[in-house]
Point group: C2
Chain length 326, copies 2
């Protein structure tokens, strides 16, 4: 199993603060969840059937004609590599680690390349995977570049996989389209703050969606996910207000770090920086019950605090870190 | 995609009764769901972490030292074939169709054999798959036979997969054990009437559980499934009362069919029979808004009615079928 953010039980076991004492900044999940409607108690009884309400709301939100709901984009990340014969796969690095892991596990040759080298390497691969915006760096590739890459790959039966898990705040950057060779992954988890709902979407050409649906199997998307998802995706007033709010909060986090001598990059939902003292800083924060995401290659990612006192807590912990003057 | 029971939206589209007018007998899901506790609204926010409460309750209920919670036993049915090199797989027939389908899809040689021929064929295969009790026939294989088969298969690195999705009413028939070569699948869906919760368990030797967890990937079991599952699995008073109730209801269904000239077999949660006029009978029932499960090889399966007026409705529809005297 790969290491992931959000493992608070692990944090608690190691550092001993109570579970609810932790300020969890280890994920890029919006701390302000979409206000979930009340669910009827009988929704757990029957096997979930794919309903039209979710499909309609999602097609409208992502501005596409067709898509496949999945139990989180993770389900698609795991299944896609099983739909191709042995291929040469380029993964833009750094990236959400499950991409390279799952392609390798399925027997493909995987090469991880910095974003700046992807264009030159395109013709040497069958599949290219990019997170756009990138997780954790926040780097963006222009949509017209991605579309051109997909078209070139498609000519020889290749795929461009664009993981747009963090694209909701800047939707004009999305390349979501039912276009041959293009596979776009979207997620309800981050922007809507509903990571536990396990709902994501795949947007791709129709034949690939059919093959993927069969590979992923039946009943993955619960009725709760369908009801909550359809409501959240249809609530445009909430989308608009939340985009504005997250842009402000993202800038605030970047400025807070900057004020403590940290030059970060990222997107509205998180900031990241190369940190030479990764382990020491993560431990400093954990002793203060702040759970950050550390990357073994040397980096820290912080999600957004929500309450004012959480911003203060983070700020004070950064003050103390700076004053250590190691 | 394979055909499955429970597709009421399909039934409605074809026969035009309102969704809530249907009496759905097309699955073996207990119509009396476990009374689900109220869930907090914030359970959808965070990524689900594997909690100890569910593991403890499940290990106690299944009487094993260790198990792996999965998003319905379907998740394990799909993943297990990917954990073996090309193998020769015997599937006891008839059976829940996903077993043969998923083993074939993963590139294995699959042979479907009647239960009576399994013992003689054991030494010719690497993997044997049996549903115990069988779905849809209700046929049972004695636990000591299954354990002996697993031991023989294990000697040469083989597996016995026992799908015990319908074993809860007669738990003494279960072979659940962390024993090499033995893989037992259990489900919360049927006995607890919580098919929509997507919660099942795999019981097998520890190294196989580790490999399966990695193959299935993270976050499949939601926090809702963990909370509801832990409560349901720990409620022994409900288990005892429900076992008695389902035994009565299962007998009542068998006797009702018998009174209409139908010799059925099955278990407490469903009855099944070979039906020469499968399509005509299913249509007769559907016209009366009763949704049954038809098997293309020629058979009908009925789950349990719940309300007294549903029993009456089924009885009257069988009267009318009998009086057609085709």
């Amino acid at each position: 199993m790969l290491e992931h953010g959000g493992r608070l039980a692990q944090a608690t076991a190691r550092y001993g603060h109570a579970l609810d004492a932790w300020l969890d900044l280890s994920t890029g999940v919006n701390p302000q969840s979409y206000p979930v409607p009340a669910l009827q108690k009988d929704i757990w009884h029957r096997l979930p059937e794919a309903g039209k309400a979710l499909l309609d709301a999602a097609c409208h939100y992502y501005r596409v004609a067709r898509l496949l709901p999945v139990a989180g984009s993770q389900a698609a990340i795991q299944a896609l590599p099983r739909l191709r014969p042995a291929s040469r796969v380029l993964v833009g690095a750094p990236a959400y680690a499950e991409h390279a892991y799952r392609w390798r596990r399925a027997g493909h040759e995987v090469i991880e390349l910095p974003y700046a080298e992807l264009d030159a390497a395109l013709d040497s691969c069958d599949v290219m995977v990019v997170c756009n915006p990138n997780n954790p760096t926040g780097a963006m590739i222009a949509p017209e570049v991605l579309r051109a890459w997909a078209a070139r790959l498609s000519e020889r039966g290749g795929w461009l996989v664009a993981d747009e898990a963090f694209a909701d705040v800047e939707p004009q950057c999305s390349v979501a389209d039912n276009f041959p060779g293009l596979i776009v992954l979207r997620s309800i988890g981050k922007f809507f703050g509903l990571a536990g709902l396990r709902l994501g979407f795949v947007i791709a050409e129709h034949s690939l969606l059919d093959a993927l649906a069969d590979e992923i199997g039946p009943w993955g998307v619960t009725e709760a996910a369908q009801i909550v998802g359809a409501t959240a995706l249809g609530d445009t007033a909430w989308h608009d207000a939340m985009r504005a709010q997250l842009r402000r909060d993202g800038s605030r986090l970047r400025e807070l770090l900057n004020a403590h001598g940290i030059e970060s990059s990222g997107c509205a939902l998180f900031q990241w920086w190369r940190e030479p003292r990764t382990e020491a800083l993560a431990q400093h924060m954990a002793q203060r019950a702040i759970w950050v995401r550390k990357f073994t290659a040397g980096g820290i990612r912080l999600g957004l605090p929500f309450h004012e006192h959480d911003w203060t807590r983070l700020s004070r912990s950064l003050d103390e870190w700076q004053s250590l003057d190691i």
